[in-house]
């Protein structure tokens, strides 16, 4: 079992990331609390979301210290989700337009 030495990082790294996640969560909550609206709201939400997700994956889940082959296996396939996202957004747009033109009239 000598290969399973695991990863050694100082505890401070986790405390720092924990603190950062707290701050980022507080900031995203503030977006709602102060009723920031429109594109600024969506941009801020997305930025804070990806920052938090990035810290969790890279530091807490140790992906930052894994080999490149592992990173590729885990980060490449989700690109397909983005494709589905784009397709479904186009489709939803179309459905909404059909609903407005066929059902909202009467």
């Amino acid at each position: 079992m000598s290969q399973a030495t695991g990863q050694q990082h100082p505890i401070g790294v986790y405390l720092k990331v924990w603190f950062l996640l707290f701050v980022l969560s507080a900031l995203s909550y503030m977006v709602d609390y102060y009723q920031v609206q429109g594109y600024l709201r969506w941009t801020l939400i997305i930025i804070f979301m990806f920052l938090k997700a990035g810290f969790i994956i890279s530091i807490f889940m140790h992906l930052k210290w894994e080999r490149y082959a592992v990173k590729l296996v885990l980060l490449l396939p989700p690109v397909a989700i983005l494709l589905l996202l784009a397709l479904m957004a186009i489709e939803a747009d179309y459905i909404l337009l059909s609903r407005i033109s066929y059902f909202a009239a009467d």
Partner: protein
């Protein structure tokens, strides 16, 4: 262990050369315990499940001609005075992040061979997780009993709201509950000393699952509650 290349590999390999070496070296491609890579693959498949749920939610929210209920108001809660928007959800978010923090430290102490600290930190993580589920039960009860939200309709607006909410948060809640059970089982194994003198990979693997649960919540919080 992580960033070094195998002994027979040339020095100064590029990242891509390392990938090629890993895949073509006539040995296991991923230099990690099998349980860990299996957990990663499971989490990747789970990513697709939650991804599809959230995309389904986006699709119905974009395509409905009715107005979407405003989450900020639907999930407001009065703590004595005026209702505070999303306060319970914010508290749940902080609790789940804290549980992720304690879990990360549990993994760290496990690799240092500190059995006692590992056990206690895993226990704290499980307690945080259980309290998260408890708050979710409270939130669901309030929504169903007081606000009349059903999977097929609600008094506030678009009928699809309930279906998305119960489906997404319900599935996430099941993940958290399963995680709490998993944590308690493995915390007990650590306490008993099952891994003493062997390795603590199991703690890291449970940790990966737990962080993923936290990760999914980040997306649900942003895309469902804040959007």
């Amino acid at each position: 262990m992580t960033t070094q290349s195998s002994p027979d590999a040339p020095l100064n390999q590029t990242q891509w050369q390392m990938v090629v070496a890993d895949w073509s070296a006539d040995k296991q491609a991923f230099d990690m315990p099998w349980g860990k890579i299996m957990m990663w693959i499971f989490l990747l498949s789970d990513t697709f499940i939650f991804g599809v749920f959230l995309i389904g939610y986006m699709n119905v929210r974009m395509s409905t001609a009715d107005s979407w209920p405003i989450p900020s108001e639907v999930f407001a809660l009065s703590l004595g005075g005026d209702p505070i928007p999303l306060i319970l959800i914010a508290i749940m978010t902080f609790i789940l992040i804290s549980s992720s923090g304690t879990m990360a430290m549990a993994v760290n102490y496990a690799y240092r061979g500190n059995r006692k600290m590992t056990f206690y930190l895993m226990l704290v993580t499980a307690i945080f997780g259980a309290s998260f589920v408890g708050m979710q039960v409270f939130e669901w009860t309030k929504l169903i009993v007081d606000q009349g939200v059903r999977p097929w309709g609600n008094p506030m607006g678009a009928a699809q709201f309930g279906a998305c909410f119960f489906m997404i948060t319900g599935f996430h809640g099941v993940h958290v509950s399963a995680g709490v059970i998993l944590l308690l089982i493995y915390a007990n194994k650590v306490r008993r000393g099952d891994y003493e003198g062997k390795n603590y990979d199991a703690v890291e693997i449970v940790g990966l699952y737990w962080h993923f649960v936290d990760l999914v919540w980040v997306f649900i919080f942003a895309l469902f509650y804040l959007w």
